[in-house]
């Protein structure tokens, strides 16, 4: 889509009270109710805002019709990777034909979670399944993006050195959380963690020192 087409689409969405979003609202509520009633899972829901739809169209040069996360649910639970897999299995069984995007294996700039795209009444509903640590990481990153610009979530370099250091810490933390989640209960005793994570912690220590002096952009 060209820039002017995207701008026109933005205007249309705003003028028409966004029928595309409204059309996703009911399937999203249905999926949320199913998770609750059948699996006893309390998911929270959100519809993408018009501004974030426009941002995504600009960033990914995609089309509104193919956007799969206009409607989204989020499930956060204190669990390890095996339990997360089990939960994902239960959810995909509840929504036959759903697709799984495992971002633990292919993190998106450090972001790790499992996203399930369920089709409900022919509309895609994205169900994000996160462990507590994966969620904590994602929330901190979102907060950083609020302050420093949302592009940092997609690989854009921040403007200040302090912000770049914080981002470097986030990258290391993502790897640290990956190692820890692969070895639940073993913590730093797991061989992989001993070999790799102690080195990461040293890196963190080196980076964290100057952070107190200025962490803004």
């Amino acid at each position: 889509m060209t820039k002017s087409q995207i701008n026109r689409l933005g205007d249309r969405l705003r003028l028409s009270e966004s029928p595309d979003e409204a059309a996703h609202s009911e399937p999203m509520a249905k999926a949320q109710a199913l998770l609750r009633e059948v699996l006893g899972i309390e998911a929270t829901s959100r519809l993408k805002t018009i501004n974030t739809i426009i941002e995504k169209l600009r960033r990914e040069r995609t089309r509104l019709a193919t956007m799969q996360d206009i409607a989204g649910l989020r499930v956060v639970s204190k669990m390890g990777l095996a339990e997360q897999d089990e939960l994902v299995g239960k959810i995909t069984s509840l929504f036959p034909g759903s697709k799984v995007d495992d971002r633990r294996e292919r993190p998106s700039y450090g972001y790790r979670a499992v996203h399930i795209i369920a089709l409900v009444d022919e509309r895609p509903v994205e169900i994000q399944v996160r462990t507590e640590l994966q969620d904590r990481w994602a929330q901190v990153m979102e907060g950083m993006a609020d302050e420093l610009g949302r592009g940092i979530r997609y690989g854009e370099e921040p403007k200040s050195k302090a912000a770049a250091k914080n981002l470097a810490v986030m990258k290391i933390l993502s790897e640290l959380i990956t190692s820890m989640e692969r070895h639940p209960g073993e913590g730093v005793k797991a061989p992989e963690v001993v070999a790799g994570v102690e080195q990461l912690l040293k890196g963190l220590e080196a980076i964290l020192g100057p952070l107190e002096e200025g962490d803004g952009p």
Partner: protein, 91 residues
């Protein structure tokens, strides 16, 4: 019987991480969505303002899954807290 899901309108200023408004709009999603559209139109010229509608069984559930709107920490502080909580869980 399960508790009905509430629709919460969140108005948030990104750059300062201020939660400007958090309002329980009740349990009727179409009516809540209409309110969100109206508010979003009002704020459309300010890209720093995020207007979002979140559905949850309680505000506590929202604080867990969307904590970003409710925590006003500096970037450095939130990263340091994450380091502390992550390393604490590894022990």
């Amino acid at each position: 019987m399960t508790q009905p899901l509430s629709q919460f309108l969140i108005v948030y200023r990104r750059s300062t991480r201020d939660l400007i408004e958090c309002r329980d709009l009740g349990t009727d999603p179409p009516s809540a969505l209409k309110t969100r559209f109206e508010r979003e139109k009002k704020e459309k010229d300010d890209p720093d303002i995020e207007v979002v509608l979140l559905g949850a069984p309680s505000i506590e559930a929202l604080r867990q899954t969307h904590s970003r709107y409710f925590e006003k920490e500096s970037t450095g502080q939130s990263v340091q807290n994450l380091v502390a909580s992550t390393t604490a869980s590894s022990r």
